[in-house]
């Protein structure tokens, strides 16, 4: 009896393995359809108007950004689903060149967001700025999140929406280092 049960279990396991293959095929089909209709990781450029080529500090962003050769300022909100997904996918400590601004409804919701996604240390060391009253976003004229501003040579250059963690990783500034001579 036990032998038959084991054989049946083996056959069922192989059947499940086949079904896993079919499921993977279905996911690939869905991905292909999303790709075809353009809802896959498609970032939207944002016209930043007068904000272009201005100093980050003028908008309430950290002073250190004014001397950054290349940096990315990511605006997150505690109310947006993609922002939570991005926050969950961030490495700790934050990657070099990435700064965060968290827009929150209240101090309590901001603290809850930081605790939930393990970003309290980043807030303490200044890499994450809390924008509880929406001061920074208002000064810049930002009404949507998640959005990333690129800083080059201490100036805000351009902005884009960030639809996924995959896209965020692809736009992180990576310094190109020279080989050591000799």
């Amino acid at each position: 009896m036990a032998t038959i049960a084991l054989i049946v279990a083996g056959v069922l396991a192989l059947l499940v393995a086949v079904l896993f293959g079919a499921l993977a095929e279905m996911y690939r089909d869905i991905r292909q359809m999303r790709d075809a209709i353009g809802i896959l990781d498609r970032p939207l450029p944002i016209d930043i108007g007068n904000v272009a080529h201005t100093s980050p500090r003028a908008h309430g962003l950290p002073r250190a950004l004014d001397s950054a050769a290349s940096a990315l300022v990511l605006f997150l909100s505690d109310r947006c689903g993609t922002c939570r997904q991005l926050a969950a996918g961030l490495s700790r400590p934050l990657p070099d060149g990435l700064w965060l601004v968290l827009e929150a409804r209240s101090e309590g919701s901001a603290a809850s967001f930081l605790d939930r996604y393990g970003l309290s240390d980043e807030a303490r060391n200044g890499r994450l700025v809390l924008d509880v009253a929406g001061d920074i976003a208002t000064r810049i004229g930002l009404q949507t999140t998640p959005v990333a501003f690129r800083v080059e040579n201490g100036l805000l250059i351009q902005a884009t929406t960030v639809p996924s963690s995959r896209y965020l990783v692809s736009i992180l500034p990576e310094p190109i280092r020279l080989r050591e001579a000799g």
Binding site: F20, G21, A24, D41, L44, P163
Partner: protein, 182 residues
Amino acid sequence: MALLGTAVALVMAAVLFFAAVAKVASSAPLVDTLERLGLTPFLARAAAPLVPWAELTVGVAVVFRPDSVAVQMGVVILAGCFAIAGLLAFRLKEPVPCSCFGTGGGGKLGSRQTIAFFLWAAGVVVVRRAHIAPALDVGAAQFAAVALSIAAARAVAPVRLWIEGRGDRLSAREMYAWLPSR
């Protein structure tokens, strides 16, 4: 030696099961490979479904009757067919997709299959020298264990695709919220 022989037999069975369930889920890539190797479309469509069943049958036989000469010959013949396909592909000027493990594997047919033939043959020699003849209940337990391992290994791809798909869906939902404001 018996332990080594059992381990080698189970590894051979696992590879055959893995290849079989991948091809059962989607036979189209295998049909394409056979056509590129020179089979007519009719023959390719007729032969493609037989390959996974041959792999499955030989795999089951290796688990339950590794001592049988017929089973050992079956492994060598199957590996020989793969090696011949590799050699045929090697002679063609264009790369021929392997389709060895369904759509998931992106390898090409060629020298690998020829080298693999010697590995299969070496495995058969080890199994033959080990003189292992498991009882039916032991074979059933080994079959269940191998099949469950295959099912677990096959689960990795859909889980990864599911996580990616969920991220894309959340991103798309956010994008729908942005688009009307533009």
